[in-house]
Symmetry: C2
Subunit: 377 residues, 2 copies
Amino acid sequence: MNDRDLHAHLINQQGGRRSFNTPVLVIDLDAFEKNVADMAAYAKASGLRLRPHAKTHKCAEIARRQVAAGAVGVCCAKLGEAEAMAAGGIASILITSPVVSAPAIERLIALNQKIPDLEVAVDNPDNARALAAATGSGKRLNVLIDVDPGVRRTGVASAEAAVALAQAIADLPQLNLIGVQYYCGRQQHIESYAERRTDIIDRTDYLRGIVTALTDAGFAPGIITGGGTGTHRIDVELGLLNELQTGSYVFMDRQYNDCDISGEGTPGFATSLLIDARVVSANTPGLGTIDAGFKAMSTDGGPPTVLAGAPAGAPYHFMGDEHGLVLFGETSPPVGSIVTLAAPHCDPTVNLYDFYHVVRGDTLVDIWPIEGRGKSR
Amino acid sequence: MNDRDLHAHLINQQGGRRSFNTPVLVIDLDAFEKNVADMAAYAKASGLRLRPHAKTHKCAEIARRQVAAGAVGVCCAKLGEAEAMAAGGIASILITSPVVSAPAIERLIALNQKIPDLEVAVDNPDNARALAAATGSGKRLNVLIDVDPGVRRTGVASAEAAVALAQAIADLPQLNLIGVQYYCGRQQHIESYAERRTDIIDRTDYLRGIVTALTDAGFAPGIITGGGTGTHRIDVELGLLNELQTGSYVFMDRQYNDCDISGEGTPGFATSLLIDARVVSANTPGLGTIDAGFKAMSTDGGPPTVLAGAPAGAPYHFMGDEHGLVLFGETSPPVGSIVTLAAPHCDPTVNLYDFYHVVRGDTLVDIWPIEGRGKSR
């Protein structure tokens, strides 16, 4: 069955969510549409460019909808994701991780020829020179200096290193330095708004020093891109970033639902990403085994939240690749009944599926392929 | 690029492992072949049937090699995996998890028509009746009674429930009861052989009681299938199982390498599954960020082992979807250099990749598609 046949077949399923062959990754379209519109409106009202991170959803249909709502383009974590988004019609893409291997750089340069605006993060002069050499006399490549907020993952580690890298890039006519990137990953999931704000004020002061050093050296950054769903309101308040890379707001997950994102004691966005699973065994009173384990959800974010089909908030325990145990309480569930979960961590959970089942209520209205699934190269 | 073109393209890569576009999932073919041969020889010498669990590798080429070495067929965790193995030419498949949803049962019956021997685990009478109803006047379906070893995941929870289920199956002429299944998952990774043996003796006594009850009721099981890489030598010693479901022995992983599997203080099998990653950032003395994070390895088994490209045993820390931090010690690594890891837990790690890069030493000799990747339905 090719993709088009599969799509038609799935759309023609008549039974709705109760008859899905579980486990499936579900998008609640009403909640999703509200999230896309709300973030677009917030960025517009704040005067910031919005470049949502497609590493969250890995899906060209969602990227197109974000752009249609006002985004300037998307971010991708990896080149393979960027190729998938470009094939899906996205014209402006920022790759937020360094691209260093020779075969990957070759693909990067090919992609730069194909779309109007390709941008890539760089964090050392050798990599900048390798990108320039591969670009040759072709179209100039847009680069941003990745600044490490202190996590020691990627990025230049000091103002001096930022200036030295800017100078190295300026010496390479094949590259076009368009700005800096700054992602404070550690701060995104601090549950208290006030504590998160205190941390981000400190980290933003650090970035301001780097921007000042770059400006003083003659490399004033045009684009200052970063932020995430957890910090975007604080980033707007602090006024240094001019482009937001928020990703998870489209879906939300257990980790972000535990946070006061709005500053008003609420997550601020609706849970639109769901996992429908099914009870496959119930031989012990009060317990039900569902068909959703390590292959249905990533485990890095802890357990999922049980939303429906069991008492709200019923504890879930991973039971291997294919199964999870739900504590139903007094009564055992019927074998075959559906249990709906919120993903613990949306990005790597999405990476386990080939498509979304898109629903309004209990009606399947579309199937969206996850073209960027597995594109870690 | 279709699969055949991709295969040809990849095989034609000339640069060997140093030029792989990382991260990639690698099979060391020498180690792999030895593992396949060693387990086959051990099962043969012990007089047990070997039915390796394909949930580990999800790859028809590997299943075919296991059968060629003497296995009677394979196990699959899910129907989707079984469909993939059947399409790859495997004639005898046991599905080890209950199949309960109506659309899945429909596919199960279709698969039963296609291959000589399909077998499925059942753990309650309602499910048996649903399977029988769907089978109708078609080819009889082989079923095994799944016995819960006490983990409350799947399986009947008592001897009485086993006998009642056997009676229910006997009343359904569409079903053919061929045996019992018993998987002691909790015991597999007990690191001490002696402690594992003590536990398995206790659990095998429990199973012996169930087998006796079934026999006394006129349902003597022909096949008694179970065991895993961790317990298979003890299972052979205890002499109740007559079919082994070992899976991870083909690859090994950090979890199993931590165990005395042989009873002689060693894992007993070689690490044949590797992840080649690359240093993509090294801006802090002694640290290197590699391009392998949540999307390159499952996190349920803890961190991977660093095998090469850094000081042996160098600590690794997950740093999000795409990255991990390796503590190199005194010196920083060159950006672009390769770091080779052993997976923390092989099964869900394999589920993240579309194919294996098969090597002898540093030479790429084949690409094997992972047809069962993502087949959780």
